[in-house]
Amino acid sequence: MTAAESIHQRSPAVLPGVDVLGYAGGRLSEVLWVAYRSLRKLSRNPFLLFFTLMMPIIWLGMFSQTFGTVFERAASSSGQAPLGYDYIAVLLPGIAVMSAIQSAAQSGFSMVSDIETGFMDKFLVAPISRSSVLVGKTLADGIRMAAQTGIVLAIAFLFTLLFGWRIPFASGLAGDAMIVLLTASFGVAFAGLSNSVALFTKNTESTMAVSFTLTFPLLFLSTAMLPAALLPSWLQTFSKFNPVSYVASAARSLILTGFNWTEIGQAFLAVAIIGVLLYSLAVLAFRRQGR
C-alpha cells in the first residue's frame, strides 16, 4: 500500500475537487461537462443546428397540408358544432412529440461515433461514473429537444398573432413550458433505446435501423397526429398501450383546453416507466463494454 499512498500524494490535485463538491456534486459536474461538450459540438456545426431547430416548423407546415383537409372533413361530418380551432392546433403538440422522438432516435449516433473515434476511451479511463456519460449526453439531447419544441411553439404563436391561425394556446405560457418539459423528458427517456442499441451494436446503421423501425409505428399508431376519436377502433385500442399517446394527449389538451392534471400525471408516469426500462438497458449495455 505504501506505493499507492505515495502516488496519491504526488497527484494531490486529483482528489480535492471531488471532496469539495461531495459525491453528488462530483457526479453532477461530470454530467454537466459531458453535456457541455455535446452542446459545444452542436454549436460547431451550424447547419446541423439550424436544421434540427427548424425541422419541426417544416413538419408542421407539411402535415397541416396533408392531414388538414382530412381532419376538417371528418370533424364537420361528425355533425357537431364547428370547431373553434384549426387542425394545426391539433397537430402542433403532435409535431412537438414527433421531433422529440426523431431526436431521440438519433441520440445513439454520437455514442457510436465516440466509440469509433476512440474518444469514448477518454471518458472510460477517467475517474467518472459510466452513467454520467450516458446522462450527460442525453441531457444535451434533452436541451436540444426543449429548444426545438420551444421554437416551434413560439413560431406557431407568432403566426397565430400575425396570420390569424386559430390555435387556442389555452393554458398560456405556463402550459407551453409544460409542453416543452413533457416532450423533452419524453425524448430523453426514449433516447435510452437508441443509446442501448448503439452500445450493444457499436454500429451506426444498426442504431439507425432499429430506431427508425420503431419511431414511425410509435408515432402513427398513437394519438400524436389525430385525436383518438378520429382513429379506427383497433388503433384506438392499440394507442392506449403506446406511451406516445399519453404525452401527445396531455400536450394537446394544454393547447386546446387547458391544464388537465390527470393527463399530465399519466404522461409523466409513461415517461418514467419507459425511462427506467430503457436506461436500465442502456446502463447494462454500457457496463458490457470491454468484456
Binding site: M1, I7, A13
Partner: protein, 362 residues
C-alpha cells in the same frame, strides 16, 4: 532503472519492505470472441507475466497483432481480462478500477481527440473529467499547450490540425492530471522523424521531471532502444524476451561484421576466397556473400574481429573496408522469434468502417 533496483535491493537488505511495483501482471490471458462456442476465438494475450517498477520507463515491443494494445487496454481498465491477475499501484485493476483510473493517464493508438472542439477545449474537458479545480485546469492546459507547441493553434477546432498536431494534442490529454503512471499505445506512429524526436524528448522530460512511470508500446526498434529502460518483446500474445535493451542485445553475443572488397577485376575470386577463409574461423557464423563483399556474425567482439583481419591479411586478400556493428534489437527479435520484425509503414487497418473525423497520422 538501475537506480531503482539498486535502491530497492538496498532497502531489502536493511529490512525495509520493497515498494509494491507500479504494475504487476501475472498469468494474464485475453481471449476475444468464441465464448458462444462459435469458434474463431483469438487468444490475443496468452499468459504473460511482468512487472514495472515505480519511476521506470518500460516498453512493449512487438509487431502488428502481437497483443500490445490488448494488454494496455486491460491495464487501463478498458478491457476485462479473461483470466490472470493484474495490479496497478497495489490496486487490483478489475476490482478497484475506480482507484486505478485516478492514477493513470492514457493515450490510445487511435487518436481520441474531438475534432469539433478546439485544442484548448479538448484538454480542458479532460481536466474537468478528473475533477481538477478550474484554475488548476486552466494553468495546466496552458502549460501543456506550450510544451506541445500547440499554443498558436489552440483555438482552432482539432479537425483542422495535421496528423502530428492531433497526436501531440492526444498525448497532452493523457497528461492533464499529472498522472503517476502514463500508458502510451504507439505514441509516435505516423509522425515524421522530426516530430517523433520532439515527442521522444518530451517523454524523456516527463519521465525525468515529473517522475512519471511510463508504459509504452511500439513497433519501432529504435524507439524502444532510445526510450525504454527495460522492455518486453511480444510475439503472438507472449513475452519472448525481457530485459534492458543493452542486456537483450548483449545476450545475442555477436556483432555483425561486414567486409568490403575492392570492386576490381579480381572481386569475384577474392570474394569466394574471403568466404572460405572466414568460414573456418571459430566464432564466425552465418557468412553471407553480398554485392560488395561478405557479411558474418562474429562472437566475442574484438578478439574474433582481430582474427578475421589477420586471416584475411595472411591469405593476401585485398580488403577495402571492415565494419563491425553491435547487435540491434532487430537481431534480438529475430533470435527469439525466428522471424524478422518487419514494420510496414502502412498503418494497421483502421477500426472505422466510416467516420467523419479526419484520421491522418494513424
Amino acid at each position: 532503472m538501475s537506480a531503482v533496483t539498486a535502491r530497492s535491493r538496498f532497502e531489502e537488505g536493511v529490512g525495509i519492505p520493497s515498494p509494491t511495483p507500479m504494475i504487476a501482471v501475472e498469468d494474464l490471458v485475453k481471449v476475444y470472441g468464441g465464448a458462444d462456442g462459435a469458434g474463431g476465438a483469438v487468444r490475443a494475450v496468452d499468459g504473460i507475466r511482468f512487472h514495472v517498477d515505480t519511476g521506470e520507463f518500460f516498453g512493449f515491443l512487438g509487431p502488428n497483432g502481437s497483443g500490445k494494445t490488448t494488454t494496455i487496454k486491460m491495464l487501463t481498465t478498458l478491457l476485462r481480462p479473461t483470466s490472470g491477475r493484474l495490479s496497478v499501484a497495489g490496486y487490483d485493476v478489475v476490482k478497484d478500477a475506480a482507484k486505478v483510473r485516478r492514477i493513470l493517464g492514457y493515450t490510445g493508438q487511435s487518436i481520441g481527440v474531438d475534432g469539433d472542439l478546439t485544442g484548448r477545449e479538448n484538454l480542458r474537458l479532460v481536466g474537468h473529467l478528473y475533477h481538477l479545480p478550474g484554475n488548476v485546469v486552466r494553468d495546466r492546459v496552458e502549460e501543456l499547450l506550450g510544451l506541445l507547441q500547440l499554443t498558436e493553434a489552440a483555438d482552432r477546432p482539432a479537425n483542422t490540425y495535421s496528423g502530428g498536431m492531433r497526436r501531440r494534442l492526444d498525448l497532452g490529454s493523457g497528461l492533464v492530471h499529472h498522472p503517476s503512471l502514463l500508458f502510451l499505445d504507439e505514441p509516435t506512429t505516423g509522425l515524421d522523424p522530426q516530430t517523433r524526436n520532439a515527442v521522444w524528448e518530451y517523454l524523456r522530460r516527463v519521465h525525468r521531471e515529473e517522475r512519471t512511470t511510463i508504459f509504452l508500446t511500439t513497433q519501432y526498434m529504435e524507439e524502444a532502444d532510445q526510450l525504454c529502460e527495460r522492455l518486453a518483446i511480444m510475439d503472438h500474445g507472449r513475452i519472448v524476451a525481457e530485459g534492458t535493451p543493452r542486456d537483450l542485445k548483449a545476450a545475442i553475443g555477436s556483432n555483425l561484421v561486414t567486409v568490403r572488397l575492392p570492386l576490381d577485376d579480381g572481386f569475384t575470386a577474392a570474394r569466394s576466397r574471403a568466404l572460405g577463409v572466414v568460414q573456418s574461423i571459430p566464432g564466425v557464423e552465418d557468412v553471407v556473400e553480398f554485392d560488395q563483399g561478405v557479411t558474418m556474425r562474429a562472437a566475442h567482439g574484438g578478439a574474433t574481429l582481430l582474427e578475421i583481419l589477420q586471416r584475411l591479411e595472411s591469405a593476401q586478400i585485398p580488403v577495402q573496408e571492415v565494419a563491425a556493428s553491435s547487435p540491434t534489437l532487430d537481431q534480438v527479435f529475430l533470435r527469439h522469434t525466428g522471424r524478422e520484425m518487419r514494420v510496414e509503414e502502412v498503418q494497421p487497418p483502421s477500426r472505422f468502417a466510416a467516420g467523419r473525423e479526419r484520421r491522418e497520422g494513424r
